[in-house]
């Protein structure tokens, strides 16, 4: 099983310091527990979904994996190599090699494309940086990438503002694919798109996976799209993973009370299936002073005294099903 693993995240922790006001004597007055000791692995050619509400640490996790920010502790292995260490110590050339294998697509295709560059410039910029494509085949390669994501050759001469949101997201995907990555992190790639366009992008991501064997980390707060695209799903709450399972398992038999509440909160587009009324009370607490014990206990309807004290660990609750809760029915 381990040789099938592409990315392995081990005990990853990220605390952001909170400073007191003042210019000269800035003091750290607290820490935002953005990501708190999470571990998971992403297998080759699968789509791993990461869901949770805003502020639960999904995007921080993505940035940590790509080493865009430095973790407080923990490690990330890519093909069994500790890339965090490597990116720190290795030569520039080595670093570039690692960077090429992992790419990111952002939520907002309006903000992630330079408005003053043509699509050709945008997609060929990685060639300048990584020098992996000889200049005389740039054009060919750009056209090939455009075709890959369902755009036409004549689009290459245009500027981002001439495109709709869905087309821009296609350009972002083409740019990410320009370096021939193996691993693609998609951070809410369809959230800012219209409903009729979302399906286009979700299907495109699926097709690309079949064609070139990409592995995805799909980050979203939208459970329906996660269900649609992922093979396995991890649910995050306040910086911790509370449940991790195969997609169908997770949605059919959610074990953690938070996962259950989350699933029941989503309205189903069918007037015949009425939503069950377990509305989660309250709001997500501040990650600066997260609750003691199980972080979900103040909102949990099944909380017991021990939930306040100890932190439940992720334990096996079935084949490929991990959950962090004291209340599992035997």
């Amino acid at each position: 099983m381990t040789d099938n693993v592409l990315v392995e995240v081990k005990n990853l922790v990220k605390y952001f310091p909170v400073y007191s006001r003042g210019i000269l004597l800035k003091k750290t007055v607290g820490r935002v527990h953005a990501v708190d000791n999470i571990s998971f692995d992403i297998r080759n050619k699968e789509t791993f979904g990461l869901v949770g509400e805003s502020g639960c640490g999904k995007t921080t996790t993505a940035r940590l994996i790509l080493n865009l920010i430095e973790p407080t502790s923990g490690e990330v292995l890519f093909k069994q190599e500790n890339i965090l260490e490597k990116l720190k110590s290795a030569k520039r050339k080595e670093k570039m090699k690692i960077r090429r294998k992992m790419q990111l697509i952002f939520q907002n295709p309006y903000g992630s494309l330079d408005p003053r560059m043509t699509v050709f410039d945008i997609i060929s910029e990685p060639f300048i940086i990584h020098k992996h494509v000889p200049k005389k085949v740039w054009k060919e390669k750009v056209y090939e990438l455009l075709d890959f994501v369902g755009l036409e050759e004549y689009h290459a001469e245009r500027y981002p503002h001439e495109f709709s949101g869905g087309q821009r997201q296609r350009i972002c995907i083409a740019r990410a694919l320009a370096v021939e990555p193996e691993f693609l992190i998609a951070d809410e790639p369809v959230s800012s798109l219209d409903v009729s366009i979302r399906a286009q992008i979700l299907n495109l991501l699926g097709e690309l996976q079949d064609r070139i064997g990409l592995t995805y980390l799909y980050i979203s707060h939208d459970l329906s799209s996660v269900r649609q695209i992922s093979n396995r799903v991890a649910v995050m709450y306040l910086g911790e993973i509370v449940e991790l399972a195969d997609t169908d398992d997770l949605f059919k038999e959610p074990l953690h009370p938070y996962t259950r509440a989350l699933i029941q909160a989503v309205p189903i587009p069918d007037p015949k299936t009425k939503r069950m009324k377990i509305v989660l009370p309250g709001e997500v607490p501040s990650p600066i002073n997260p609750p003691s014990g199980c972080r979900f206990h103040p909102r949990c309807s099944e909380a017991k005294p021990e939930c306040r004290k100890g932190t439940p660990e992720l334990v096996q609750a079935g084949p490929n099903h991990l959950v962090a809760c004291y209340n599992l029915s035997p």
Partner: protein, 330 residues
Amino acid sequence: MTETLLNIEGLKTYFFTEAGIVKAVDNISLNVRKGESLGLVGESGSGKTVTALSVLRIVPKPGKIVDGKIEFNGEDLLKKTEKEMQSMRGSEIAIIFQNPSSSLNPVYNVETQLRDVIMAHQNVSKVEARKKVIELMGVVGIPEAETRMREYPHQFSGGMKQRVAIARALACKPTLLFADEPTTNLDVTIQAQVLDLLNDLKRKFGMSLVMITHDMGIIAEMTTRIVVLYAGHICEIAKTHDLFEHPRHPYTEALLAAVPRLDMRKTLRVIPGNIPNLIEPPTGCRFHPRCKYATAFCKEAIPVLEEVESEHFVACHEWRNIELGGESKQ
């Protein structure tokens, strides 16, 4: 049959921009009955928000209501003076916007903002108004109203801010409430809380609710009747149940097939192409360039709404010749 509260006939709201005339709402007729929950569904640019703004007569410049009739309780709102309109807004017709962070005033505390609404429409003293504010905040589920009302919007979380916005809209017990994507910016668990709150309040105050959204799940759960808009035209009007079971317009069918569902995995059918530009909208039926059933005739003539069965209207030339699948047939 229940009484009609709002009757819109042949409404045309255009935006006179430098690039040309944007026909955001182009000849729309619909009605809202007393005490019902009506859904306005459509993607961005379909004219759903502009319809609501037109009713309140707060269409921003360079927009203008060009033609049509808007009858509220039998009175034509378009014939009213600005002063008369002002006394209607808030007391008879109210609106909740998508983004509470920008619809609440950041420099006044919550008490002032709510009190202002009450004092503008009702002849009460400041002390009485304050009492009403406290009561109102309790109704929308904001705990510790007496202390929290002195706080400013930035001190509230997104869900709480939306509750304040709802409280402000309901301050004078309007008979008609527009909710324009009220939960799009909120997390799913908070969304569930706000939707439940809206349902409760609607029942309590016996008002009519017009729910504007692109989320088919929310529509299925919250409404009894639906109006589907596309590029400023109405495609279909039907009872919620009928619309999901037997959509008669190809756009409605495509929209349903393009939305991923939480309770099952399905193949997402893509709607090809993009949302049309409203400066030069497609001729004839505006959906024809993306419609797989389109004929040459669809390019020429604009279809009118026809009643295909009781209370089910569709604007499509081809509805007799096509067999469409509903949500349950997929």
